[in-house]
């Protein structure tokens, strides 16, 4: 009677005419502890970004000088900085900068990169060559150098840093999506679609694009973690949000002169960045291993 029993029966006796529809739970399988922890951690950080005031009653910018440079305690989970600002509050309020920045960066890379890849992969003529050589050039430049060059042109700031980081992943997205498109385009159903009179853009949109996106989506999840790290790097170097904005990379940079006297100023924000990146990588690895979830 239960859904499970019915499905077990169905899978033991496959009906060739009814497509097998497994539940979401079945498709994910038994979740690993590390994946669950990663997802929970990412959800917490996303909640920090959306409703920071639910996690801390304090102001990330106004400090209390009487409580400057206090080590972590129950009152100040991550301690306080040189001017008495609560570090936990700053980390919580800082998550919006890092997460929205990473989202912009991944979107830029995903949209532009996939567009280039699909056009190159489906045209397979001189256009393909031109686009791929441009991508080669992008791949040849170290990504940090590339993002620094772009940010010098765009000016400093959170959004600018995000766009600069996004551009560095355009090449990776373009390469991957092109190879997928080339694979899908040679398949029988695409040939069939063309043979039955489908026009090029329609076939591209209806058949090629959806079927080549899986791998690209996994890459997007992976890029999210990398983007958080890159944006923090730019923030650390002073190219991101201007102070006193609580940005993770900037906080680590500001705390580095206190590494011997107030370890919590760099260590704890640094640990948060490391955990977010690790969690995002773990989740993307899980997605890649399981294929499509939705």
């Amino acid at each position: 009677m239960s859904v499970n029993e019915r499905e077990t029966r169905a899978s033991s006796l496959p009906d060739p005419f009814v497509p097998i529809r497994r539940s979401l739970r079945e498709r994910i399988g038994r979740p690993k502890v590390s994946v669950v922890l990663s997802v929970v951690w990412l959800l917490i950080v996303i909640a920090w970004a959306i409703i920071p005031q639910a996690f801390t009653p304090l102001d990330p910018i106004a400090g209390n000088a009487a409580q400057a440079q206090q080590p972590p305690s129950l009152e100040h989970l991550f301690g306080t900085d040189a001017t008495g600002r609560d570090m936990f509050t700053r980390v919580v309020y800082g998550s919006i900068n890092s997460l929205s920045g990473a989202l912009i960066a991944v979107s830029v890379g995903f949209v532009i990169g996939t567009a280039i890849g699909v056009i190159a992969g489906s045209s397979r003529r001189i256009l393909d060559d031109i686009l791929m050589r441009i991508v080669d050039v992008f791949l040849a430049i170290p990504s940090l150098l590339l993002s620094l060059s772009i940010i010098i042109l765009l000016g400093f700031g959170t959004a600018q840093a995000a766009i600069a980081v996004g551009f560095t992943s355009v090449a990776a997205f373009a390469r991957l999506s092109r190879s997928e498109v080339v694979r899908v385009r040679g398949s029988d159903y695409v040939e069939a679609a063309f043979a039955s009179g489908g026009r090029f853009p329609v076939v591209l949109w209806r058949h090629v694009l959806p079927n080549s996106l899986t791998a690209v989506l996994a890459l997007a999840a992976l890029q999210f973690g990398t983007a958080v790290l890159s944006i923090s790097t730019l923030g650390f170097l002073g190219y991101g949000a201007p102070p006193p904005t609580p940005e993770w990379g900037l906080m680590i940079a500001e705390g580095r002169n206190y590494i011997a006297t107030a370890w919590w100023l760099t260590t704890l924000p640094g640990a948060v960045v490391v955990l977010v990146v690790l969690a995002a990588n773990r989740v993307s690895a899980a997605i890649a291993a399981k294929g499509r979830i939705s």
């Binding site: 910018i61 106004a62 400090g63 000088a65 009487a66 400057a68 440079q69 040189a82 001017t83 008495g84 600002r85 990504s143 990776a172 992976l222 973690g225 990398t226 002073g238 201007p242 102070p243 006193p244 500001e254 580095r256 002169n257 206190y258 590494i259 011997a260 006297t261 107030a262 370890w263 260590t267 640094g270 490391v274 990146v277 690790l278 990588n281 993307s284 690895a285």
Partner: protein, 554 residues
């Protein structure tokens, strides 16, 4: 692109390494053996590693006020007279005696025999005259500026091989002290013919003086070596070392990160470091190392309010800013006892100091009232507004000053409470240099200047010197407050010593009354030495002197 697995592995390794390193430095801070007492016979020979905060920008003496430059010039160039850093009295150095006329428009110096530059040429009256002709008049064609220490200079006159006379167009009572500063470091005739660029980074070894050290092995932006002159024997009488410098070599390495400097000192990699930040002092003394906080005896570290900006042109706004800043909390939170709270625009140890601390009292209620009266009403976001314009002001981060950024962050938190939005300008060198010259971009300027003479106040505020208030507008060259100019002129050009002190005090009071400045603290230059380093001292504004330094570890 690195694979995700490798990326994670790399990250984990980096984290573990960082933690291990942090552990190492904690271990290294256990107290070393021995004390830093100055007993024992000085040892000749050996070398010292000196970690400097910033790289040199140029060694043209009048422009060498920047500490990394001054630290070099102080050791490679001698001066006519020597100013004792403690008593601020003068004694012979290259000049054996000197005299001036009653209204300080004529100075005569007798030059010591037998002094040579490091290139072998003799230091005589003619080359001294050539030095001061350049420093006193500048050379616009070569881009060489007039020294801010020398006022009203007219001409020199070589009387004989050992006598030189200087003439001034108006009284120049500060000239004797000026000859003792690093801005008047004596250079060889050939060096004085160089254009501005040749004084810059990469050419330090070509700057020839007669001092106890010469420059060698310069690496641009990274550091240089000071090598002892074995034939140096014309030190001022009061120096403990009358012969050649004890050390053979001082290796100066630029180390911008404060935590790295302290770590290197504590682990024994460096013998001397400059700019020990306030938060690290305890760590250094706890480890049994010596901290030297040499006072700079000049204009205090503080803010200049650029009154020609529209928002700051109202004295009530300026007074409100002063009343809104809790200087005591600032000094207590960010600094240590080596940074005494300022009580005037000048340091207590500066010549001509007068107490004006009542003008800088903290009173947030008064600040709010003043801003209300000036028409700045509290907006919905907590920031005051007038005619739709928010009360947003920009202050520069003064990178050479100790903990400038932390201090300004705290000030901005304090000002937020009275509804003022203070932004801190943090920018690349080019953007920064341009912005600080424009009162519309930077309304509040954070700086200080050290010099042990009454003229120091003129150096900071006079329109043709540092012009920190931007009293002279850079766009149209107009002067906003002619009275201030007149008062500053009087400090530099009054011959009577008593009247000159009064003139300086008038300026200090005027600056306080007009609410042009907010002094924070009396700035020290904080050095720290390892236990094996002895005999370290600094000149009258805290620049290091290496002549008598010796080490007993090899």
């Amino acid at each position: 692109m690195p694979s995700p697995r490798r990326l994670i592995a790399g990250l984990a390794t980096a984290t573990v390494l960082a933690l291990a390193l942090a552990g190492c430095s904690a271990n290294a801070s256990t107290p070393g053996s021995g004390s830093s007492s100055e007993t024992g016979k000085p040892v000749t020979g050996g070398s010292l590693v000196y970690l400097e905060h910033q790289a040199i920008t140029g060694l043209y003496p009048p422009g060498a006020g920047f500490y990394p430059n001054g630290g070099i010039v102080n050791n490679i160039a001698d001066r006519l007279v020597y100013q004792d850093p403690k008593t601020l009295e003068f004694e012979p150095w290259i000049a054996t005696k000197w005299e001036s006329n009653a209204d300080a428009t004529e100075y005569t110096f007798t030059i010591r025999d037998g002094v040579t530059f490091s290139d072998g040429t003799p230091l005589d009256a003619a080359v001294v005259a050539k030095n001061f002709d350049l420093y006193g008049l500048g050379d616009a064609a070569r881009g060489l500026t007039v020294s801010e220490a020398i006022n009203n200079y007219q001409s020199s006159e070589v009387v004989d091989k050992n006598t030189v006379k200087f003439h001034f167009s108006a009284p120049s009572p500060g000239f004797l002290q000026a000859t003792s500063t690093i801005n008047s470091g004596l250079l060889s005739s050939k060096t004085l013919d160089l254009p501005f660029e040749k004084f810059g980074p990469g050419n330090a070894a070509n700057i020839i003086g007669s001092g106890p050290f010469t420059v060698d092995n310069e690496k641009i932006g990274t550091g240089l070596d000071l090598v002892a002159r074995k034939d140096y024997k014309w030190a001022p009488k009061s120096w403990s070392n009358q012969g050649r410098p004890y050390l053979d070599k001082i290796q100066i390495t630029v180390t911008p990160e404060a935590s790295v400097r302290v770590g290197a000192l504590l682990s024994g990699q460096a013998g001397l470091i400059r700019d020990v930040e306030a938060q690290d002092e305890k760590q250094v003394t706890d480890a049994g190392f010596q901290v030297y906080a040499a006072q700079t005896n000049g204009v205090n570290n503080g803010l200049s309010l650029r009154f020609r900006n529209e928002k700051l042109s109202d004295i009530r706004v300026r007074q409100a800013l002063i009343a809104g800043i809790d200087r005591e909390e600032l000094v207590k939170t960010i600094y240590t006892k080596n940074y005494p709270l300022a009580t005037s625009v000048l340091s207590k140890t500066a010549l001509g100091y007068v107490d004006t601390k009542d003008a800088f009292a903290y009173d947030p209620k008064k600040a709010a009232t003043l801003l209300d009266e000036a028409g700045w009403k509290l907006g919905s976001n907590g920031i005051r507004e007038k005619d739709g314009q928010p009360l947003t002001l920009v202050v520069n981060e003064a990178a050479p000053q100790p903990r400038s950024f932390d201090a300004l962050t705290l000030v901005s938190q304090q000002l937020k409470k009275i509804g003022v939005d203070l932004q801190i300008l943090k920018a690349d060198a080019g953007t920064y240099a341009k912005a600080i010259q424009d009162a519309n971009q930077v309304q509040i300027y954070h700086s200080m200047v050290g010099r042990a003479d009454l003229d120091v106040i003129k150096s900071q505020f006079y329109s043709k010197n540092r012009n920190t208030l931007l009293n002279r507008d850079n766009a149209d060259q107009s002067i906003g407050d002619p009275k201030l100019e007149e008062l500053l002129q009087a400090v530099a050009s009054t011959a009577d010593p008593k009247a000159r002190i009064e003139a300086s005090q008038t300026v200090q009071k005027y600056l306080a009354d007009q609410a042009y400045v907010i002094p924070f603290f009396e700035e020290p230059q904080v050095f720290a030495t390892a236990n094996f380093v002895h005999g370290f001292s600094s000149e009258s504004v805290g620049r290091p002197s290496f002549d008598a330094v010796w080490v007993d570890k090899q």
